[in-house]
């Protein structure tokens, strides 16, 4: 009996008919999984880690203090920070040169976590394709520009810092001890 049923199934191609029914269902469903990429772009999740960018405060001053903790945290050694003291405010440092080599970057976001002043952020920029590899070695200006584009809402500069500037300004006039004067 069972063999008879199997024979009938084989003769009438029941397995193939089942498969044909399945593919026909998909034809009628008109469901599309693929995306027409350059025309349609998918919405990226909030935690997406794209190219690392620099942020600014609301008064257009950059946040980075040049501490180079990002350089220390970077697992692929793609960040180079050259820190210097600011001319106008003593004991205040900034990144004189900041180089991010996107060709080496693994987009892990460790630098963002390491930053003590929240100067770095992961943008949603992923279309970095270029014919010149040198375009991918970004300096601070390029990173700030990208940051302006992706983070238009800026954090307020902490209020107390203005008092500190004033304090240092008065101290500088009265021979502040850390001002290097022939010190080693």
């Amino acid at each position: 009996m069972k063999n008879g049923m199997n024979l009938i199934k084989t003769v009438f191609f029941s397995e193939i008919l089942k498969g044909l029914y399945l593919t026909f269902k998909h034809l009628l469903a008109q469901r599309v999984i693929t995306e027409q990429y350059p025309r349609e772009k998918r919405v990226l999740p909030d935690g997406y880690r794209g190219v690392i960018v620099h942020l600014r405060y609301d008064d257009n001053t950059e946040k980075c203090v040049g501490c180079a903790l990002c350089e220390a945290a970077c697992p692929s050694h793609c960040i180079t920070v050259e820190s210097a003291e600011r001319e106008d405010i003593p004991q205040k440092r900034y990144a004189k040169r900041y180089i991010l080599d996107v060709t080496k970057c693994v987009f892990c976001g460790f630098c963002v976590q390491a930053c003590p002043v929240d100067a770095l952020a992961s943008s949603k920029e992923y279309e970095m394709a270029t014919t010149d590899k040198r375009d991918l070695i970004m300096d601070k200006e390029a990173m700030l520009k990208l940051g302006d584009q992706y983070f238009p809402v800026r954090a307020k500069r902490p209020k107390h810092s203005q008092d500190r500037y004033d304090f240092f300004k008065t101290m500088k006039q009265t021979e502040f001890p850390t001002v290097k004067k022939g010190a080693a």
Partner: protein, 340 residues
């Protein structure tokens, strides 16, 4: 003068049929890609023209301007001749296919809906379609590549084993209509779909469909060009126009076997019911051919490729005995019907 006009009419008919067939071949690739992608939840070609409608044109242009490479060690003459040897038999079969019913009469000249009606039409098509296997085999051999050679050998084995049941399955309609001519065969199936030979010869129809797929090297019988095993089979080494000749031949063969199936089993240009005869016969013919082509693509999206020993076993142990039994039964029934 009279002869010149007659020759001119025939030439114009040949040009028209060739033009229509080649356009269909181009857009069959588009149809195949679109249907396949729909069945696989994709979009398919979308870039060139609205919904990718100009894609076949772009593909053709690309193939036309590509460099023509003849590999070192290849036999140049046979290598160049093989694609033509495949393409010509695929196109030449359309000469006897009746596309419609009514002839166009202008003065004393008659433009028939077929190029010629020879009284051995089906035999002629079968003879030429087996000639195409030589092109495949020679192309595979002349390429001086192991993939091509394996593809060619497989193709030869496959075509030989499936041509027998293919021919035998067509014996049924030939016996019933009592003619080898495609035109007479179509006319014998007039007056409703229950006169079509797909009703009286269902086994022959199924055998014919399976063998036709095997003959045209389509999935699930695309072993000669199995891309996961043989790169591209017999045309691995071909490029540019020669490659496109093989490509054209494959799709032209698809259309040709569909046309034969329509003429031999689905009543050709006949309408399924007599009250539906207000629709032009050529529309019925095209609708049936399109349905069969759709079925081929549908099958390609569904069924995986057979193993080679399965293919051979199926061809020799199932298809051949079945078609022989079918021929025997049909002749007996036909004999007793004639006695009555």
């Amino acid at each position: 003068m009279d002869l010149a006009i007659r020759i001119g009419i025939v030439l114009a008919e040949i040009a028209a049929v060739l033009g229509v067939v080649l356009t269909h071949v181009a857009y069959l690739t588009y149809m195949e890609r679109k249907i396949l992608s729909d069945m696989q939840d994709r979009l398919g070609p979308m870039e060139v023209g609205p919904h990718g409608l100009l894609q076949p044109l772009a593909d053709g242009l690309k193939l036309f301007f590509k460099e023509d490479i003849i590999p070192t060690g290849a036999n140049k003459i046979i290598f160049s001749a093989a694609p033509i040897l495949v393409l010509i038999p695929a196109l030449i079969g359309f000469a006897v296919v009746p596309f419609g019913r009514d002839s166009l009469v202008i003065g004393e000249f008659e433009i028939t809906p077929y190029i010629t009606d020879i009284n051995v039409g089906i035999l002629y098509i079968l003879a030429f379609s087996s000639l195409g296997a030589y092109g495949v085999l020679l192309g595979g051999w002349a390429s001086n590549s192991k993939y091509s050679l394996l593809g060619g050998l497989r193709s030869a084995a496959q075509v030989i084993s499936y041509e027998l049941p293919l021919g035998l399955s067509l014996v049924g309609p030939i016996l019933l209509s009592g003619s080898l001519s495609m035109v007479t065969m179509t006319e014998a199936q007039g007056g409703g779909f229950w006169h079509w030979y797909v009703i009286t010869q269902p086994i022959a129809f199924v055998i014919y469909m399976i063998c036709a797929i095997a003959e045209t090297n389509r999935l699930p019988f695309d072993l000669p060009e199995a891309e996961s095993e043989l790169v591209a089979g017999f045309f691995t080494e071909y490029s540019g126009m020669r490659f496109s000749f093989f490509f054209l031949a494959e799709y032209a063969n698809m259309i040709l076997v569909s046309c034969i199936a329509v003429v031999a089993f689905l009543g050709g240009w006949q309408a399924p019911f007599s009250f539906m005869e207000f629709v032009p016969p050529i529309v019925w013919f095209l609708a049936k051919v399109y349905f069969l082509l759709f079925f081929y693509i549908w099958l390609r999206a569904t069924v995986p490729r057979l193993r080679f020993d399965q293919l051979m076993a199926f061809g020799w142990k199932v298809m051949l005995p079945l078609s022989l039994v079918n021929v025997l039964l049909t002749s007996i029934v036909k004999y007793f019907l004639n006695q009555m």
